[in-house]
Each structure stands twice: as structure tokens, then as C-alpha cells.
């Protein structure tokens, strides 16, 4: 991965580096070690600490998303406001640690049958909900079952679809899967799956109860929420803050102004156009982490001309990735190579050649496809990803030297995901990414998957996907994932020009742990229990 020498990127790169060693070993996943988990609990932020964290103070967070149509039901959570709320109020069975590895949270440990079809999770004792309810196995069962079944309207339905049965045996919860999945414990860290208190075998999806570090004091959708510390929190010494104010500030300028004028301590999204100016403001620090979030331009591989791989290759060579990273991301990100696996991930293919802007190659592939020039429309809106319109304009400029006339069609942000994405043949998309290679590929690249946005079907790829999922030999598995990345990059239907950093900013009154998680914004959305006031 290329890294520009750019002062803004220092922090970014520091995080990049530390993630490369991320990823639990297979054994660690198969059998979560209780002792290791306990150690991680005391200092979940990694060691060594810069200074001993101090307790107290109210953290005020300005957030770019949040709508009056948000809801408490975990099955509806989609945007950052509710996901932040989720990790502030709730705990999950498993947790992605700042280094990207999987650690136990409400599950003290777990064990899988040899075929990875039956999973037994040992639930932690002595965990108190805010309401005083004590965590038992039934809560876990009901919480997961909320997303399952015919009637379920949960967005998480596809990811729990493989569970055929959940049984409770005291403090053990046994999941039975239809197909073996070695990465199942990762699935249970998904933000849709918080553990909520059950009554008569069901959770109340609209409850504000939870067993996380903070209690909800008030919640007004689309406006804000306030939280107070949960005194009975089971993680010792946590959280440090006395309370949190979470405020929705949609407008980029307003959010930055709120930070500059000291009305909030932290903003989750900084406008990339002006982030360099923001950095110069006294007392403001920029937080940039690159992880698995990537922006892409998927093509419908069933539709002409995209059904011809030569056309797809031509389009992949006609995009100037470096220019996009420099201009659209202002350097806060890294080059993408047309597959969704980030450089920090376990099985990232380090030997795959990085595609670069090459109009001659684009012309060559067009010729292979029997064309002298190509006219295509790309349908974009900034809803696809921040800066998508501008990216389209730049792409169209660079593609023209490769004999490609790319016409950028502006679509409304409103309704983009239902009417444009996966409806029009050439569009824009973003993925927060998934913590495992299998999860990412299965979600958006396997044949017949609901979100296979390129309608791509590649026999060899699909075979590899299934066998890699249950492959026990680490080396063989690596080879398989490497080959799959190669296939997606050179035969797949998506152009992934860049991996985008999550860029936020905070006041220097705040202190952060040495390592900040990169699986989501806001330190994996767990800033509430991982940060403190200096």
C-alpha cells in the first residue's frame, strides 16, 4: 500500500501499522480463552497507557447522522447515531478489540464442535442490567431470536439465517448452525445483536434497558440523547465518563464550528475538504483510522457492456486511484485494488499487483473487447459515499484519455439505496467492511447473496468460498483467500479505488488509548468506555 508523506497522515499510518498484526488465530476463535479475556477486560485499550485514565466529566459528541425516523428496535439500526447508542448502552456476546482481534464480552468463552456447526457459549455471571435484571442464558437466546424467523423484519436477518436452533443450559447457550462456520463468534459481535433483558422468552425491542456502560437518561430521535454512567457495570473501573451527551449535527460546517467553539468535545465526522484548516485550530486534534471501510463502483455483470470482463478491466484501468485518494479523501485513506479486503486483515494478499491509472491499458482492453471507444453512464449520489459526485467527475476526466466517455448521472440522495443501487447497471457504493474475509465475500460477492451488488457469479470463486469457510489449515486457507482476492480484482464486477479512513476530530481535553479500533468510527463506537478526559 502506498502511503504519501503527508503530516496529516501520521496518526492514520500509525493505526494502519498496528492493525496489520491484528486478527486472532483460528484456535483463539474456536475456543475463546477465559483467562485471556479477563486480561483484556481490565485494559481493553491495550498497553502501555500514556497516562493513568481519570474518571469524571461529561463527554459531548457531535454526530453527522441521526434521523427522526430512528427507532429503538435493534433490527432497524443502520446509521452511526443508533450504532453508537448501541455500544454505549449495551454489551454483546463478543467484542472486536482495538487491535482487530475477537475478545469475549458477555460470553466468557466458547467452544465449537469439530465441524464448526454447534457452538457453545459460556455466559458471564453477575452481569446486571440497568433495570437490576440479572443476565441469564434466556436473555441471550431471546435477544438473538428477535432477528430470526419468518416474521422477522430485522436488518440482521441474513446474518443469523444460518442458526437453526438456540438452546439454553444454565449459563451455557448452544447455537446450532445449518452449515459449519469457523467465524461464527465474529458474527455475534455484529451491532444489531445486543443482549437485552428477556421476559417470557421474548425481548421488548423498544426497551431502553441494557447492560452496557451507560444508562439512557433521555433519547430524542434525530436530535440527541443523554446518558449517565451505569454504576453496576461489570467491567471494573469503567466507564471513566460520568455521562455522555450525543448530539445530532448534520451540517459539516455546523459540526466543525461546534467543536471549535467548544460546544462539543468530539465530532465523529470531519469534512475532508477543510480538515487541514480544522487541524490548525488551537486545541483540536484529528482522528483518522483506516480499516475495512471502502468505496466502490459496482457494475452489473449481467448487463452489456459490463458482461464483458475486458470492458470491466478497461474501466478499472481508466480510474486514477491516487488522484481520488488525494482529492476525495484528502489523503485520508489508501489505494484500493478492486477487492474488499483491507491491508490490515488476516488474509490480505500482499503479492497482488496494485492496479494503477493506465489509459493505454484501458485502450488495450477496449480493443480486446472489440471496441474503439466506450460510452457508459454512471449513476451516483453523495449518499453512495461522501464525495461520490466529485469522484465521478474526476473519474470521467481520467477515463476520457483511455477512450472511455463516462457520463456522470446525478441521482437524488433520497431513495438512492432502493432505486439506484443494484437497480442501475453502474453505480457507487460503500462498505463499512466486515471483520472477516469470509463474511465480506459471502455478503457481497457470492452467487445469489442478497447484496451481491454486481450480480456476479464465478464458479471457482464460489467453490473456494465454501471450502475456505471450513478449512482448518491456516496456510491452505490463506492460499484460498489470496486466490479469491485475485479473482475478484481481475474478473469481478466492482471497481474499488480507495479504502477510506474514518476521519473525526476531538478537543485535546480528551485522552484516547494508544490504539484506536478501526472496525467502526468512534473507536469501534466504544469511545464511551475506552476514552477519558485528560
Amino acid at each position: 500500500m502506498e502511503n504519501r508523506e503527508n503530516p496529516e497522515q501520521v496518526e492514520d499510518r500509525e493505526n494502519d501499522m498496528t492493525i496489520t498484526k491484528a486478527g486472532p488465530s483460528r484456535r483463539g476463535v474456536l475456543k475463546g480463552a477465559t483467562a485471556l479475556g479477563a486480561a483484556a477486560l481490565v485494559t481493553p485499550f491495550g498497553t502501555p497507557l500514556r497516562a493513568a485514565p481519570k474518571a469524571g466529566g461529561t463527554l459531548r459528541v457531535g454526530m453527522a447522522h441521526g434521523s427522526t425516523t430512528d427507532a429503538m428496535d435493534p433490527g432497524t439500526w443502520e446509521a452511526d447515531f443508533m450504532i453508537f447508542q448501541a455500544h454505549t448502552r449495551n454489551n454483546y456476546l463478543t467484542e472486536i478489540a482495538p487491535d482487530g482481534s475477537l475478545i469475549p464480552e458477555l460470553a466468557e468463552g466458547w467452544e465449537a464442535s469439530p465441524d464448526a456447526k454447534v457452538w457453545t457459549f459460556n455466559i458471564r455471571g453477575g452481569v446486571m442490567f440497568h433495570s437490576g435484571h440479572k443476565l441469564v442464558g434466556e436473555d441471550v437466546k431471546a435477544s438473538i431470536e428477535h432477528h430470526m424467523g419468518e416474521e422477522s423484519t430485522s436488518a440482521a436477518k441474513p446474518i443469523v439465517a444460518d442458526i437453526t436452533d438456540i438452546a439454553v443450559d444454565g449459563m451455557n447457550v448452544i447455537f446450532t448452525l445449518a452449515n459449519g462456520n469457523a467465524d461464527f463468534p465474529f458474527v455475534l459481535s455484529d451491532y444489531h445483536l445486543p443482549i437485552l433483558p428477556a421476559k417470557d422468552g421474548k425481548i421488548d425491542p423498544n426497551t431502553t434497558d441494557g447492560c452496557g456502560p451507560f444508562k439512557i437518561a433521555s433519547m430524542e430521535f434525530g436530535v440527541g440523547a443523554s446518558y449517565v454512567k451505569h454504576d453496576g457495570y461489570w467491567k471494573e473501573g469503567l466507564p471513566y465518563f460520568d455521562g455522555i451527551e450525543q448530539i445530532v449535527i448534520h451540517d459539516d460546517a455546523a459540526r466543525q464550528n461546534a467543536l471549535i467553539s467548544g460546544e462539543v468535545d468530539y465530532i465523529d465526522t470531519a469534512d475532508l475538504n477543510t480538515v487541514a484548516l480544522l487541524k490548525r485550530s488551537p486545541g483540536i486534534e484529528i482522528l483518522a483510522v483506516t480499516g475495512t471501510q471502502h468505496y466502490g463502483l459496482p457494475m452489473d455483470t449481467r448487463a452489456a457492456p459490463f458482461s464483458d470482463n475486458n470492458v470491466r478491466q478497461a474501466l478499472k484501468y481508466g480510474i486514477n486511484r491516487q488522484q481520488l485518494v488525494d482529492t476525495i479523501l484528502n489523503g485520508f485513506g489508501s489505494l484500493g485494488n478492486d477487492h474488499p479486503i483491507g491491508p490490515g486483515q488476516r488474509f490480505f494478499n500482499t503479492e497482488l499487483e496494485q492496479k494503477a491509472y493506465d489509459p493505454d491499458k484501458a485502450k488495450f482492453y477496449l480493443k480486446e473487447a472489440g471496441m474503439s471507444s466506450l460510452d457508459v453512464d454512471i449513476h451516483l449520489a453523495d449518499a453512495a459515499f461522501a464525495g461520490a459526485m466529485d469522484a465521478g467527475v474526476l473519474y470521467s476526466e481520467s477515463a476520457s484519455s483511455g477512450g472511455i466517455n463516462l457520463n456522470v448521472v446525478r441521482e437524488p440522495n433520497d431513495g438512492y439505496w432502493s432505486n439506484v443501487w443494484m437497480q442501475k447497471p453502474f453505480v457507487g457504493t460503500y462498505w463499512g467492511g466486515r471483520p472477516t474475509e469470509d463474511w465480506m465475500f459471502a455478503t457481497a460477492y457470492s452467487e445469489g447473496a442478497a447484496w451481491n451488488e454486481t450480480y456476479w457469479s464465478h464458479e471457482r470463486f464460489n467453490e473456494l468460498l465454501v471450502s475456505a469457510r471450513s478449512e482448518l489449515n491456516e496456510e491452505t486457507r490463506r492460499e484460498m483467500y489470496w486466490e479469491m482476492q485475485d479473482i475478484v480484482a481481475n474478473q469481478g464486477g466492482i471497481i474499488i479505488p480507495m479504502f477510506a479512513a474514518y476521519v473525526g476530530a476531538y478537543s485535546d481535553a480528551l485522552a484516547k488509548p494508544e490504539q484506536v479500533a478501526s472496525n467502526w468510527r468512534n473507536d469501534g463506537h466504544r469511545i464511551g468506555e475506552r476514552w477519558w478526559f485528560a
Partner: protein
Amino acid sequence: MGFLTGLFWLAATIIVALGAGWVFRQAAIAISPKGVAKELRTAPLTASFGMLMILLYIIAAVFAPVIAPFPETQVVGSEYQVWDDVHLLGTDNLGRDMLSRLIYAARNTVGIAFVTTALAFILGSVLGLLAATVGGWLDQVLSRAVDVLMAIPALIFALLLLTIIGTSIINMILVIALIDSTRVFRLARAVAMNIVVMDYVEAAKLRGEGLWRLITREILPNAMAPLVAEFGLRFCFVFLTISALSFLGLGIQPPTADWGSMVKDNATLISFGDITPLLPAGAIALLTVSVNFVVDWQLHRASGLKE
């Protein structure tokens, strides 16, 4: 001190502007035929300045490809370059030449605004005058329909309609024209209501003049002044509507340059004291003020007030 400096520059600008207006008026009088020259002599300096500016905008719009140093959409540098000899006003967020885009935007923005306003006025004033002249059920139906359309907030209505039919330039012109025409209708009807009861209109009716002749010969000339005044403002509101739409995520198809979207694209810079977004905003403001100076002069002439 800063305040005084500001005041000095403001005064200097005003003097230069009025001076330019004076020079322009003298020049225009010199080259115009007699009748026009006589009219021009009555123009105050503000109106002369306004006419000069409008002329410059038109020149910029028509000859944009000749005047602009760079193409409209080409990326010619890195993003946000400072002002220098090559890029007189620097570059924008994608590295396109700011000055060139401002000039091309004159063509797009003024063109769109003019067509939109003209459509709104043709639709609104024809229906408004008709409603007032014919009266009865036609008036009732049209007035109630306009009431309904006006009861829906304009921006949200535009948002709804554009999302349904798509945001091509043609659609945007039609939607904004439709919404604006309700405002024009109200004004035209109100003004015409006062005129239709006048004796000379009654007389014309008795003479048996046709409806079309009645409207074009008797009513329209007397309703012209307030309509022209409204035109001046409405014309400029079109830029603002486009800008507000682009704030809410709809707007003109990129990479076409228009001032409203250019303000939006660069607006956050103002929080850090960077004046880049003031350029397109200033372009809108200057045209608004100029158009309305000229309109005011014409209104004053029409009002018959002598002083």
C-alpha cells in the same frame, strides 16, 4: 481600526462603482440613437451601474469559451490552490480553475434563471390576468388551486417533485417555474383586480373588445410595473432555490458549473475565514443588486413621480 478600514474600502468600492456607472452612461448616451439617449439621461448612476453590470454578465455568458482561461470541467491543478498568475482566483475543491468556472457558471446560471423566471411569469401572469378579467368560476378554480399549491412549503414541494421526476436541468426549470408561477399568479391577479374596475376597462368592454385584446391592450400595460418589480426579485430567487436544493442533496448535474452549487461546494471554507465561497455568492449578489437597480429606475419612471 479594522472597522474603519472596512468602511474605507466600502466607500471606495461605491465611488468606483458609481464612477463606472457614470462613464458607462456617458458612453451609452453618445452611441445611442436620440430617443434612447434621452431615456438614458434620466437614469441615476445606480441604474447605469446596474446596466453596465448586466451587460458584462451577458458578455461573460455569451463569450464564456473565449474569455475563460481554462475549460469548464478540466482538472488543471491540485485542490484549493491559492490565487496566482496562472489561476487568478485559485482552484476549487477538485482542482478546477475557479475563474473559468465562475465565467461558465454565468452562462448556465443566468440562462437557467432567465428561462425559469420567464416561464413562471408567462404562466402566472397570463392565468392571473385571465382570472381577474373573466372572474366567476374560472377565478375561483384557479385561485383555489394556487392556494393549495402555496400551502405546501415551496422547498419541500420542489424536493418531492424533483425526487419523483429526476433532477435534469429541464425538470428543475419546470418545477421551479411551476412553484414560482403561483406567486406570480397571486400578484398578477391582485393587481389586475384593481384595474378591471377602472372606467377605461369598462369602456373597452362596452366597445366590445375581445378578451385577448382587453388583456393585452388595456390591463397588461397598467399592471406592468409591479410585475417587472417582481421579476427582478424572482429572477434572483431562482439561484437561491437551486442553492438550497443542492444543500439538501439535489441540484444541477455535475460537472456543470452554477453559482448556487459553487457556493454550497465551498461554503464550509468560510468557517475558517477563507473567502473562496464569497466569489460565487458575490456574483449572485452583484447581479441581484444590478437587476433591481435597473428595475427601480423603470418603476420610478412608471410611477409618474417627478422629482
